[in-house]
Every structure is written in structure tokens, then in C-alpha cells.
């Protein structure tokens, strides 16, 4: 298949970027989206042009490194799918595909489609952990955890921290990410005691990192490759309220 890409090109954080039209001829429909970009890059290098910079690592949908807003949707048109797991058969020959970076003030562009998502790491550092060191790995099932609680915690823990929620949100809010990272600890006995303190500190850090506020549009949930529910945002709202009003 033959495609026309409109790719965001930007040399670095300081210089302004723009969309550049790049031809992508003879693409195999069984390629993943990233493999398609690899092929395009090989051609660009052969023509002595700058290859397109983009993030990737595992290429199996579990690390959260790949990003991209494809035709206006974070991680492209497939639900519950990362960009690395998106395949070119999803498109038609002759299509024009607009490829942009995840856009947010808290995600400055490093180059082309690569953005700096360390703001998410700093939110984790502010409270997304259990602060009591418990020694070595305990035996399985040493701490009894109800099945329901373990399931909910696991649903939240499925978050791979890619930042698609921020990219899709009209307010560039990180609430789905933060609420998932708070919830996967809040639901299990190890993390529950610090639930309110954690909500307070992670939200404070989130605000400092200049993410916008959540207005419950639910676009984040729709693009999340792990299909994390906005029910966790409601929970974080509740925990934050309790921390504010009922805390000491």
C-alpha cells in the first residue's frame, strides 16, 4: 500500500516545529505502525535526510514507551491498543495519515515525535509508592487479599504510564494516570494506610507539573491502551476530598 504521511518535525524543544509531508510507498499491510516508520526512516537515511524520531521499546504493548497521535487519536484508531500493536491493514492504500506527538505543556517535545514524559515519573516520586520498607519479597498469599480487591488493584495496575490519557484530554489532564497509580496501591493492604496522604501529595505534584484539571469527558478512558476506567478518577476525587476535609 502507498501512504502519505504528514509528520510533525521539530529539531528540539526551542525551535518551532511543523508538519512535513513524507511519502510512504510500498508498505506491507502486515507491518506494525512502527515498522512502517522504520521503513520510511531507512529510505530517509538512504536519501541523506533526517530520520523521524519517535519513541519505542518493547514493541509488544507492555512498556508504555511508544506514543503518537495518529489522525487525531492517541495510539491510533484501534481501542485498547498501543501504537506498536497497531497494524497497517487498519489503513487503506492512498490514505493520508497525520502523525503528531503527545501534546501537553508537561510533555515538552525533545525531537519530532519524541516528548519528555518525566513529569509522570515525578508524580510517582511524590507519593506513588508504599513508604514502609518491608524487606524481601514475601511468600505468595502471606498477606490475605480479597479476590475483589486484588482484581480492582490489578485493573488499575495495568496502567503502563504511556501518557495517552494526557494526550487525548482536551484539558491535558493526567488524572487517569494519577488515579490509576493511586488506586493500584489504595486497594491492597500494603498501600491502603497511606491512601489519603498519597492522594494529597500526588495531586499537588500533578498540579505543579502544569497538567490541566479533569472535566470528566472520558476521552482518556477511550484511548487508554489498557482500557483503565475513569471510576478510578472518581475514587481519587473522593480520597482527595477526604484528605482535605477529614484529614488532620
Amino acid at each position: 500500500m502507498n501512504l502519505v504521511l504528514k509528520v510533525w518535525r521539530q529539531r528540539n524543544a526551542e525551535e518551532p516545529g511543523q508538519l512535513e509531508t513524507i511519502e510512504a510507498p510500498s508498505i506491507n499491510p502486515d507491518m506494525s505502525f512502527l515498522e512502517m516508520l522504520d521503513v520510511v526512516n531507512e529510505r530517509l537515511v538512504a536519501e541523506n535526510k533526517e530520520p523521524i524520531a519517535y519513541d519505542h521499546d518493547c514493541r509488544e504493548g507492555i512498556c508504555g514507551a511508544c506514543s503518537l497521535v495518529i489522525n487525531g487519536v492517541a495510539h491510533g484508531p484501534d481501542r485498547g491498543t498501543t501504537t506498536c500493536q497497531l497494524h497497517m491493514r487498519r489503513f487503506h492504500s492512498g490514505d493520508e495519515i497525520v502523525i503528531e506527538p503527545f501534546r501537553a505543556r508537561a510533555f515538552p517535545v525533545i525531537r519530532d515525535l519524541v516528548v519528555d514524559r518525566s513529569s509522570l515519573d515525578r508524580i510517582i516520586q511524590s507519593g506513588g509508592y508504599v513508604s514502609v520498607s518491608t524487606g524481601g519479597t514475601p511468600d505468595a498469599n502471606e498477606i490475605p487479599i480479597p479476590k475483589r480487591a486484588a482484581d480492582v488493584a490489578m485493573d488499575a495496575a495495568a496502567c503502563i504510564g504511556c501518557g495517552a490519557c494526557v494526550a487525548a484530554c482536551k484539558n491535558a489532564s493526567a488524572m487517569l494516570f494519577v488515579s490509576a497509580k493511586a488506586a493500584h496501591l489504595a486497594h491492597i493492604p500494603q498501600g491502603a494506610p497511606e491512601r489519603l496522604e498519597r492522594a494529597r501529595s500526588m495531586v499537588a505534584r500533578m498540579d505543579e507539573e502544569t497538567f490541566g484539571a479533569c472535566t470528566n469527558t472520558s476521552d482518556c478512558e477511550a484511548v487508554c491502551p489498557k482500557e483503565i476506567s475513569i471510576e478510578f478518577i472518581g475514587e481519587l476525587n473522593r480520597d482527595f476530598r477526604q484528605a482535605l476535609l477529614a484529614g488532620r
Binding site: V98, E100, R105, A106, E221
Partner: protein, 231 residues
């Protein structure tokens, strides 16, 4: 007190204020509609209600002041959230599609601002009598103000009726997202209630829009009339 100011100024705190004031405004809108629906019970009942409200005196002013305060907090938070959201994405997308977000959820600030303009117009109409001043003066000629006649005659004026009905559609769009959204913002949610809250929100919104639109509509169709006056 510092903790409270700081907490309410945070992103979630602002949303919390938004939700609480939104809920209070919603309760007011419902009460206001129920009061006005007495138009269907005829001049005696409606004018009696209007006179009772005027008779509240200081209490009426306390309620007006309280409402104004609630509205100001709601609008102030709306401006803050909207400005922060804009700052949070300085370079816009060349192409952006919403996958799940409703039209209403994406246009809350715009529908809110139009509703605000309508509120100002509405006060200039029925409270101060600046708009339709002739009808307002006429209603206040006798010993007892005849707000029933002013109400009905105002809406016999087609542009006025249409303006009110349009405003109610916008209130409806605002509330179609707002009512369910406020539960999420306040953290009163459980996954199993999600669908119920959404449907209830739409139901309340539908009732408000239908009830409010019915009044100018019945007037413009001459189903509600001033006794002894045919138009």
C-alpha cells in the same frame, strides 16, 4: 484555614467547588421551575406566589445574595479551569478527534457563558423590568402586581419566547453533562452506579428542559392566556 484555601485552589479542589455550586444551582433551577409552573394554575395562584416571594423581604434579599455568590464561585472556577486547560496545551493539535467525549462535555464553558448572558437578560426582564418595561409598568398599575399578565404577555411576543426556549436548550446541554459529572467530581461514585447516574442525570435534565420550555410555548400557542384578553 490555609489548608482549606490551598486545597480548594488545587485542580481537584476547584472541581469540587464547581460541583458543589453546580449542584446548588441545579437545585435552584428545579425550585425556580416548580414555582413558575404555577402559571398553569391561573392568575390567582401565580400572583399569590409572586406576592409571597416579594413579601419575604430581607429573606428574599438574603437568598438573592446567596445565589449571586454561588454563581460567582461557579463562574470564577469555570474561568480558572478553562484558562489552566488552555495553558496546559500551548501547541494545539493539527488534527484532534474526540473518541468518547460528548459534545456537551466539550462545550461546558461556552454553554455556561451563554446561560450567564441569559441570566442577566432574565433579571433585566422580570426582576428589574428594564426589558418589556411597558408590560412591567402595566403589571404594577393596580394595588396588587399582576405578574401573571406580564408573564403571559411577554411570551406572546414571539422573539422573547424563542429567546427563552433557546436559552433552555443551552441549559439542557450544560446539564446533560453537568448533572452526572458532579457526582464524579465529588467522588460519589461506584462502578455499578455509573449507568444509573448517567441516566438519572439525563432524566433530570430532560424534565428541566421540558418543564421550562413548556411555559413560553403554551403562551405563544395561546393555550395559556390572560383572562379577558384575546390575542
Amino acid at each position: 484555614m490555609n489548608w482549606l484555601v490551598r486545597g480548594l485552589n488545587s485542580s481537584i479542589g476547584t472541581k469540587y467547588l464547581m460541583a458543589v455550586t453546580g449542584l446548588l444551582l441545579l437545585l435552584f433551577v428545579i425550585t425556580h421551575m416548580v414555582g413558575n409552573l404555577q402559571i398553569y394554575l391561573g392568575p390567582e395562584v401565580f400572583n399569590g406566589y409572586a406576592e409571597m416571594m416579594q413579601g419575604l423581604g430581607t429573606l428574599l434579599w438574603a437568598m438573592r445574595l446567596g445565589l449571586l455568590l454561588i454563581l460567582l464561585v461557579h463562574v470564577r472556577c469555570a474561568v480558572k479551569l478553562t484558562a489552566e486547560a488552555k495553558e496546559a496545551r500551548p501547541v494545539p493539535y493539527a488534527m484532534k478527534r474526540s473518541v468518547a467525549a460528548s459534545y456537551a462535555s466539550r462545550t461546558m464553558f461556552m454553554t455556561g457563558m451563554i446561560v450567564l448572558a441569559f441570566i442577566v437578560f432574565h433579571i433585566l426582564h422580570f426582576t428589574t423590568g428594564t426589558f418589556h418595561a411597558d408590560l412591567y409598568a402595566e403589571a404594577h398599575e393596580g394595588s396588587h402586581p399582576d405578574m401573571y399578565s406580564m408573564f403571559v404577555k411577554s411570551f406572546h411576543h414571539a422573539p422573547t419566547a424563542i429567546a427563552y426556549m433557546t436559552a433552555m436548550v443551552l441549559v439542557g446541554i450544560h446539564l446533560s453533562h453537568g448533572v452526572s459529572s458532579l457526582f464524579q467530581s465529588m467522588g460519589f461514585v461506584r462502578p455499578k452506579y455509573r449507568e444509573m447516574i448517567r441516566v438519572t442525570g439525563l432524566g433530570i435534565t430532560g424534565a428541566i428542559v421540558a418543564g421550562n420550555i413548556s411555559m413560553p410555548l403554551m403562551c405563544i400557542m395561546n393555550i395559556v392566556e390572560v383572562p379577558g384578553v384575546s390575542s
